[in-house]
Assembly symmetry: D2
Homo-oligomer: 125 residues x 4
């Protein structure tokens, strides 16, 4: 198979890869939404662990540090793999869900009110 990269890999291709991996091991039985949401959250926790005591600025340097970069990429991969497995188990279309969410966020966060501000939409005033 050709190596996958973001510029060419579709979500469907990635979903197929993780599904094939699970099927080969007869693991779909374990892939209930409850279990996958837990695994996803646990991996998100591992991703965070790289940045616990850094300031946000320092965390940019951490992520650029060659000694840590591969491990961080691996945790990110774990998160997205579980997200894709969740989508497989629930037959959700990730790209369509993202597009719908961006459209909803665009209404909640109009550019003129939210530019340069990190406040929640409920506090945009």
């Amino acid at each position: 198979m050709k190596p996958l990269t973001d510029s060419t890999a579709t979500i469907a291709q990635l979903k197929d890869r993780v599904l094939a991996f699970a099927r080969e091991r007869d693991w779909e039985q374990f892939h209930a939404p409850k279990n996958l949401s837990m695994a996803l959250a646990a991996e998100a926790g591992e991703l965070m662990e790289h940045f616990l005591w850094a300031t946000p600025d320092e965390s940019r340097a951490t992520a650029a540090n060659p000694a840590k970069r591969d491990k961080i990429a691996e945790e990110l991969a774990d998160v997205v793999i579980y997200a894709l497995e969740f989508a497989n188990a629930t037959k959700l279309d990730v790209a369509a869900a993202i597009e719908a969410k961006i459209a909803a966020n665009a209404k909640k966060y109009p550019v003129e009110k939210s530019k340069g501000r990190s406040v929640k939409y409920t506090e945009l005033g």
Copy 2:
């Protein structure tokens, strides 16, 4: 723009969408890896909340319930959006990271030893 779906949307296209949204609002300043990893984990927590008290089997029904499905899709979208923003902020290639992780997992979980078993690779014996 054409609606996005998993069968055609590449990771790069989705990354571009979320990046455009952030840039328009001058939000890249907030998108340190530390902050994005927190946001991702918080959204993963919200996804879990739909399944807290269900058994794994019941959680399949929850995810198929039309009254809950849209909300669940929205939480999944939030998770993947933050994962893509994390990848944007750190210049990581998600598809390549997934492929590398699947290859590593294939070694840790050989089919003949892990078939139908949910035990961790350290306990595969």
Copy 3:
């Protein structure tokens, strides 16, 4: 010092223990609420990892398994230690907050409506 146990240890004593540990190492500087909330969530993720693929019933057996029990106790300790450090850093009274929350929950979940049901209060009908 006398060994601590739940029957005699007050929250204040436990807060003092974790504070002394942090002060001795000059770690209070790192104990911003943001950082501690991340550490807490990351440790909660590690606690979950013991139960990812188990059913709820199986998870009771996992927690009773002597081979896993110490590790599970350790993750629970990590969670509570960070919660206490969060309370130290923010000068919150944990017991008072718990009491207030239980009172609020008692209103949201009246016994006659919620008995034996795991549904959210917004769906109690």
Copy 4:
């Protein structure tokens, strides 16, 4: 009942309060370790949400802000309530587990090596 405060409330008293609340509603059946670890992690996520885009220093101000303080105390209470329910369900002694963990941490992080440094013990050198 006398109001609870950290200076007098023992862990055992708090465990009893949350147990009484659960028993009155016949909720122990839902309190499998798996479910409680998920609920705990989900609440830890809600606690984090107050600090997503703040710097660590700004997060100290957020936690001191009277407009946010009650909500933050409530999320902290939720976290500790689930930790106590987890301890009830698994018959773990929280104080003893904390004491054991502090002792283990004291060995991993000797004062002279870790003073003023946030690095992980594996990198203390």
